[in-house]
Symmetry: C2
Subunit: 258 residues, 2 copies
């Protein structure tokens, strides 16, 4: 978990108009993105980094703070500062209890992800454009069904760019989130993701899989996962039962509840 300093050479330009703390933060960000600083590993302690670059500890703290605010690292008093695990799937849906009166959040126990199929496909025009690859490029395709207590809740289709060294390990399919799937194929740490939510109605096929009536409302969720270089490496289209899922957002001020 230890780490041997950041950047062999001086890469901080104190005479630059760009603040030192920002230069340092970006430098560390690059180390993380490049994979030379991996999730779980520790950053050099503040004193050390300050020494190494000949800057004040407060300036180092400012740099670390930026990374903390971005969610890339976290610190623990008395222990150190560590690279965080990227959380791409953190805008999770909640299961809708669907009873307006009782805000009791149902437990997600019994939640299961069933892999319906996993195969290699050739990108058609649409998929090729989503993944920004040539048509006919080979991609991994996963179909999954999410159930709770054997009731189907969601149906997911996920595609990731196929990169030769992609042995599909049973083990890695236990949590087939797009970000985990993408990490199978030697891809780097993921940096960003995008989700688009639409309100829609089940198709025939989906109705059968989800065991719901025709005309059942659903969330249609399109998710793209990007590379370090912001190139798409994964794309997915999921159907969430509108009668079981909801999405909640909070806005506004308040120091108190943060």
């Amino acid at each position: 978990m230890k780490n041997e300093g950041i950047g062999q050479t001086w890469m901080l330009d104190k005479s630059s108009p760009i603040p030192v703390y920002y230069q340092l933060a970006r430098l560390i960000e690059k180390e993380i993105i490049a994979g030379r600083l991996k999730p779980g590993e520790s950053l050099p302690p503040e004193y050390e980094t300050a020494d190494h670059f000949g800057i004040s500890r407060m300036t180092v703290r400012r740099a670390y703070s930026e990374l903390i605010a971005a969610g890339m690292v976290f610190s623990e008093r008395g222990k150190g500062t560590f690279v965080a695990k990227p959380k791409l799937e953190d805008v999770e849906f909640e299961l809708d209890d669907f009873d307006d009166a009782t805000p009791t959040p149902k437990s997600e126990k019994g939640k299961q992800v069933k892999l319906l199929s996993a195969k290699i496909v050739r990108a058609d025009e649409k998929l090729a454009s989503k993944l920004a690859v040539e048509i006919n490029t080979r991609c991994l395709h996963f179909k999954m069904l999410i159930t709770i207590d054997n009731t189907p809740l969601a149906y997911e289709n996920k595609y990731i760019v196929f990169t030769k060294q992609s042995p599909i390990l049973e083990q890695e399919l236990k949590d087939p989130s797009l970000s985990n799937l993408a990490s199978i194929g030697g891809h780097h740490i993921l940096t960003t993701g995008k989700r688009v939510f639409r309100a829609s109605i089940v198709t025939e096929e989906e109705a059968v899989l989800l065991k719901v009536n025709r005309q059942t409302p659903v969330f249609l969720v399109e998710q793209t996962v990007y590379d370090n270089e912001k190139k798409p490496i994964g794309w997915g289209k999921s159907i969430y039962r509108g009668d079981r899922y909801r999405l909640t957002t909070y806005t506004g001020w308040s120091l108190s509840d943060r």
Copy 2:
């Protein structure tokens, strides 16, 4: 726009285990929430606050930073630090161009909000529970239709607790967002809001209003706006055409694009 210092008396306890910067931030937050520091007004300059409380300027900066991070204030170099206008409706839907290939965001020009009705109603059981008031409490009820180029896009029902001094001014109904509506009735600055999104299907009534077919998918958006004391003061239920609206979220790391 000037302001005469924060807190007449010493309210900072330097011997407390609670950090001074945090005490100060909360103190200023209270001033803002209480309305003694209004949006647009300036906070005392950093030097002055530091002097006033006998603390270092860096500590004041840390406090101000917390408020900036919370979105309550903002600073401008050379000018000062100012109380921000609360933005409650900032998780706006985007108009869906609905053509997957072209990500050209349609302009929202021609967008109009038509007030269908505005009246005083008595809270039924459901509304009473949403607004945390007694059944039969009087509330203002607004029905609105949002159109663009005369095409209906969304239908909104909003309720706010009626507080006697609520002269409904035409002028204030031009932008009938919940937070603006709520400010009509002498309510304080709003602090927080919650939105719940569901996927659903239009009712008969809504289909007529929105001029869409039966079975059209829609977003059902429930919004609650809270008081400084976190008591609900407004509640709304809106229907957004699923074929014209979408919701986008971004997740993950990256210092670069912030």
